[in-house]
Symmetry: C2
Subunit: 159 residues, 2 copies
């Protein structure tokens, strides 16, 4: 079976059984599969980071707070947060892929799932804050999202 | 100014001025910036591809049609389609980055923007088809999305 086909099946199966992430964590079937899964996983986190970047700069006063941008980025962070479980399901820890993801992601699935939920919730709150256009509330809510990023990175990502 | 800061500003500025993509296409400011922009651009398209993969397999009868998976993936394709304009805004064509993106993306911005809209629309229709659970309608709508992928690739992506 080709790598692509295997991934297709993995995504399909997992997608049909959402919100039971722990049970579904599954080892990559080959190095090629692990590399592909890692690329996709990193894609999600790169996009998360690129949406978070400007928000962090706003919270720190480095650039002006722009509520429209905050709302757009918060929506994207929220959407991407809901993709993390699927895109981290494949355990690549047995293969030598270039990654900062720690094996704990697949060993402590419940903890990891809770951390994902925290990001989903914090980004939802940020969307609300952005709609309010209250700069103080926005900065506070950006901090809330940043805290969930940092909390998860501290535990599940290489220093 | 750091690459990250420049990117942050670029995303922030562009985000505040949506739906005028053509005027906003802007050259990467350095090779580092071009590499970063390319990584982010490719992240969006990798995720699009990974969502499309299972749908193509369903449309071709290689795996069973699963309306829930179709809806979830169609939603993600739709969300990602709305990110394409921002993530393709940086013109990396003057730098030797490893990419299959053709310079036409930045030379024919109006055409490219129309192709993005086609994907947004086709994925919206696929969401509706998935909700109907009508297998024929789903397969047809998957074909509609696939056509917009292929149409854009034919013109804007290396063979």
């Amino acid at each position: 079976m080709s790598v692509l086909k295997k991934s297709v099946l993995a995504i399909t199966v997992s997608a049909g059984l959402m919100s039971s992430m722990v049970a579904l964590a599954q080892p990559a079937s080959s190095e090629k599969h692990a590399i592909y899964a890692t690329e996709l996983r990193q894609s999600v986190f790169k996009l998360l980071g690129s949406n978070m970047g400007p928000l962090g700069a706003m919270a720190k006063g480095k650039i002006p707070v722009n509520a429209e941008v905050v709302e757009k980025n918060a929506v994207r962070i929220n959407q991407l947060s809901l993709m993390i479980a699927d895109y981290t399901r494949t355990d690549t820890s047995k293969f030598s892929v270039k990654t900062e993801a720690l094996a704990k992601i697949w060993q402590e699935g419940e903890h990891f799932a809770k951390d994902i939920d925290k990001l989903t919730l914090a980004s939802t709150k940020l969307i609300s804050a952005a709609k309010s256009k209250d700069e103080g509330a926005i900065k506070k809510a950006i901090g809330g999202v940043g805290k969930t990023c940092g909390g998860c990175h501290d535990h599940f990502k290489k220093d």
